[in-house]
């Protein structure tokens, strides 16, 4: 009985540690997201925005430890013919690779027009289909260089 109580005490302590780590990680990610948003607002070129997004994603991944950077076996592929277990490569972040290197796009990834995860919105005037004046709101980084 004493052994069980001791074990339960250890497990409770571990749980508290995990919760504390999670809170700290979330706070770090929140700060990174805030800095990313501010930097994107000040960016003047597509290239600059791309670099900011890349840096922000790397910073976010670093807060999650090796498992999020592709270092663990989670999400790996088991090849039954060779009995090997392989870890997929990270998704492509840049635009200059060949199509063979391309993976599934990441959120907030390489495209300047990628609005997922962005909180920037901008509004443009439109003529509505009934000939009246209206506006349309778009998500994204706004005006691009080209």
């Amino acid at each position: 009985m004493a052994k069980y109580e001791e074990s339960q005490e250890v497990e409770n302590e571990r749980s508290k540690n995990r919760q504390r780590a999670t809170r700290e990680r979330r706070a770090e990610e929140k700060e990174i997201k805030k800095q990313r948003r501010e930097a994107l607002n000040q960016a003047t070129s597509t290239k600059e925005r791309r670099e900011i997004k890349r840096a922000a994603e790397e910073a976010t991944l670093s807060t999650r430890g090796p498992s999020s950077a592709g270092g663990s076996d989670k999400g790996g592929i088991y090849d039954i013919s060779t009995n090997n277990y392989s870890q997929p490569q990270r998704n492509q972040l840049g635009q200059d690779s060949s199509i063979e290197d391309a993976g599934i796009d990441t959120l907030g990834g390489s495209s300047a027009a990628d609005s997922v995860g962005d909180t920037n919105t901008f509004t443009l005037d439109i003529v509505k289909d009934d000939n009246t004046a209206g506006t349309a709101t778009f998500n994204g980084p706004g005006v691009n260089d080209d």
Partner: protein
Amino acid sequence: MPNAILRAGPDTQGRPVSCANDTSSSAWPWQYIKLVNISKVTHTGCEDSPIGNIPTTKHSDSNDSNVETATGNFSISRSATSNHGTTIDIGFEFVYQATQSFDIKITYNGSASGGPDIDSSSNIRFVDNKAGGSASGFPSLSGSITRTLPASVVPALYSAALSVGIGIEFPDDICTPSSGSANASATLGIEFL
């Protein structure tokens, strides 16, 4: 059902672009350019010349071109007078985008009076930038014309103008400023149908 279109403008000449016939939007006010030119020639007397006395005149011109905001139907009216010659040119032009065609009605009314002897070059003329959009007459001209302005994704121009010109002959005694009068008045209006 037509698709919505993004606002363009100002156009290549810097004119504001309006949203079809929608004059109700405060965010996108309906704007046009108002044109008013008034020219007056006043007989002031005479001066010596190798061929004898010739009449002298004084010219005064006022030219206004302003961007105006309309909140519905509008019109422009002017009148002027002198003792020898008077010309009034009023007009408007606007640039628009529209997802579907819309109708406007232009009403014009010009009149001239004077004497004792009216110059034969006196004339009143209405014109717009559409085919068949001209009319002339004297000493009065009035009428209306309905135009269907087509849908346009890019800025499209519509313009209309009314000119009223009247001149009177110099008096027999050209060295005495004329006691005659040349009166002109013009009204040009637009109605959104």
